[in-house]
Point group: C2
Chain length 257, copies 2
């Protein structure tokens, strides 16, 4: 196992499962902290502000500050801002998306948007969707935080961002540019924040189809940990493997300090 | 032009355009009434009760009673009821769909649905969609009033039933059974109500891709009238033609009384 200098770490299924913490992952993150190895939690959850995510992690005993959290909303706002600083944006999403857009100095508008930016919005209304459709038909670029079609909850699988986003793609005929995992964009944005090179960074996650594919798409090494979605059996049927796969993060062998 | 004994007539683009009436169509319907030829207005608008649709028509001077209106919500409720009388239904839709389901004696439930029935709902909420997704994942059949992806309004094209419905199909991976035009089901249901045979009935409409295809799919003759969506130019590029195509309904030649 190579001596990586930076770590991108998925959250749900990797550090915790819903409200249950994964002890091996916490020990792993503590070891990163002890070794002064930079890490960033990389999440497709677009709804929360990084400070909220960090609070939850701290409550679980995971060493974390808001600066350790990089959400797909932040990646999305950064992507838009890099292309068009101060752009007019019509957002559909929750607090995490709205604050990310504001933090990037983008301008929230009702009409005449340069970009329609959409993520999961559990306060969705027809009027919000109508505004998005009209702005896209009037030429706004269509950007989506992530394509996850289902949201695992205690009640079962509820509609995810990708399914709500399909309203706008189906009605306008315009497919969005997706930013979150498995796209490479969120990884590239995260590397800029983390400050490590592709060669020296490892993507860690439990879901082959989001975390590992994001690593593969961005051209960085990846570590699949079987504490969440993708089981050993699933992995057998997949051709392009992650760089490493282990049962829990307790199996990860760090190099010499 | 054959002496048809029954007429299925589209509304928007055929009898009126938005709030503007089409005089030639009104004269045509009056002639049907004078000749005692049965007719039924066949609409993919799932949101209104037939009495509301009929009121609007009467205000425009179109001879109409609620019994002259057959909405895709009525066709959908009838379809469900024929397969499973008194079935448990989880509906997502507006007044027209809810009343149609009640009128068929179906049982509206929150959980344990046999059918999830969805149409256009401009009061859509995440919670409604979540309930639909959970019921489908628990085995409910998924039925949709119509697949129209866009809704023409004074503000422009807004999300139509088909785009909202995509939330549930994308998140569950289950495609709905569509009932409205261009499917044959709504036509077959309408023929039962009208009481005429396929051979003796004409489908009249302005939209090739809904009205005329519905006629073709159901195996009945069709009349395309160029007062709405499909222009003469559009029609040239299409291989399978309607039985007749005319500029306005003033050109329709009735047979001898």
């Amino acid at each position: 196992m190579k001596n990586y200098k930076g770590f991108l770490i998925d959250l749900d299924g990797t550090v915790y499962r819903g409200t249950e913490k994964i002890e091996e992952a916490i020990t792993f993150v503590k070891e990163l902290e002890r070794r002064n190895l930079p890490y960033l939690f990389l999440t497709n959850n677009s709804t929360k502000h990084p400070s909220k995510v960090s609070e939850t992690l701290e409550d679980m005993g995971v060493p974390s500050t808001p600066e350790h959290v990089f959400t797909t909303s932040m990646a999305t706002a950064k992507y838009v801002s890099e292309r068009h600083p101060g752009a007019n944006v019509y957002p559909i999403g929750e607090e995490g998306l709205i604050t990310a857009i504001e933090d990037e100095g983008l301008n929230i508008v009702e009409t005449g948007a340069d970009f329609v930016v959409m993520g999961l919005d559990r306060a969705i209304t027809y009027e919000k969707l109508a505004g998005g459709a009209l702005n896209i038909r009037n030429g706004a670029s269509f950007i989506a935080t992530n394509g996850d079609v289902a949201l695992p909850t205690e009640r079962g699988f509820l509609p995810g961002a990708g399914s709500l986003i399909s309203v706008l793609s189906v009605t306008t005929g315009v497919n969005p540019k997706f930013i979150g995992k498995p796209e490479s964009i969120i990884v590239e944005q995260a590397l800029e924040v983390l400050g490590t090179s592709k060669e020296d960074t490892l993507m860690v996650g439990d879901n082959y189809h989001t975390d590992i594919l994001a690593g593969l798409n961005a051209g960085i090494d990846s570590l699949l940990v079987h504490t969440g979605v993708t089981t050993k059996e699933h992995l057998k049927a997949i051709d392009v493997k992650p760089t490493y796969s282990i049962e829990t993060l307790a199996e990860w062998v760090f190099g010499q300090d």
